[in-house]
Symmetry: C2
Subunit: 124 residues, 2 copies
């Protein structure tokens, strides 16, 4: 993979926020510095960085895909009202061996998401 300043900028944005932006939000943010950036470029580089494990893809079940610059194993809470994605500090699960034993597979990753109402939305 060759260097590109667009990908560099994208990674900087993703690692510098905890907001778990969507492709479009990243696009809007990148346009501030580079108004000529293309949405296609955003998608292509999100796919590339996800593939190499540099960033993490979060499929929320509720709206479009979110991305996280932090790839340490951690889990998320998603508010069903406002759609915001929150980081959790739960201990990583240790179920890989159990799953592999049960259905004879090779587990490479897992994803745990909690749904409900966040602090702000539950009091409305």
């Amino acid at each position: 993979m060759n260097y590109s300043k667009q990908r560099e900028a994208m990674l900087k944005i993703l690692c510098g926020t905890k907001t778990h932006p969507t492709a479009n939000e990243i696009y809007l943010e990148m346009r501030k510095a580079d108004p000529k950036i293309s949405l296609g470029t955003v998608y292509r580089n999100l796919a590339l960085l996800t593939e190499t494990g540099t960033i993490m893809r979060i499929d929320t079940n509720h709206d479009s895909v979110h991305y996280d610059g932090c790839t340490d194993t951690h889990y998320h809470f998603i508010c069903e009202k406002c759609g915001k994605v929150y980081d959790l500090r739960l201990e990583p699960l240790k179920l890989k061996a159990e799953v592999e034993a049960e259905i004879d597979c090779e587990v490479s990753d897992h994803m745990l998401i909690f749904y409900g109402k966040c602090s702000k939305c539950k009091s409305l």
Copy 2:
């Protein structure tokens, strides 16, 4: 919600299989018995039944949304090669209180998905 034979048939299909079909697969299956069924009807009823908690929506992160007629708490393994969804018999997690304490929220549900290669695909 009024009765409809289309929704009845859909529920029967979903509860009678462990294949976790997509909206389109359900549509194709339903057309066998009722060639006039509309894809819009399938989507509308999937949304209705998901909302009432009668069925379960599985967002695989890899292709379009799958549905499960079994709503008992259980988890899934998804093969990154062939896309097939497998049921797991893991013990339900008990992390609701912990999550609610950590970020002051109201957890109503959670979803745990393992990714990797299934038995068939790992040996290719």
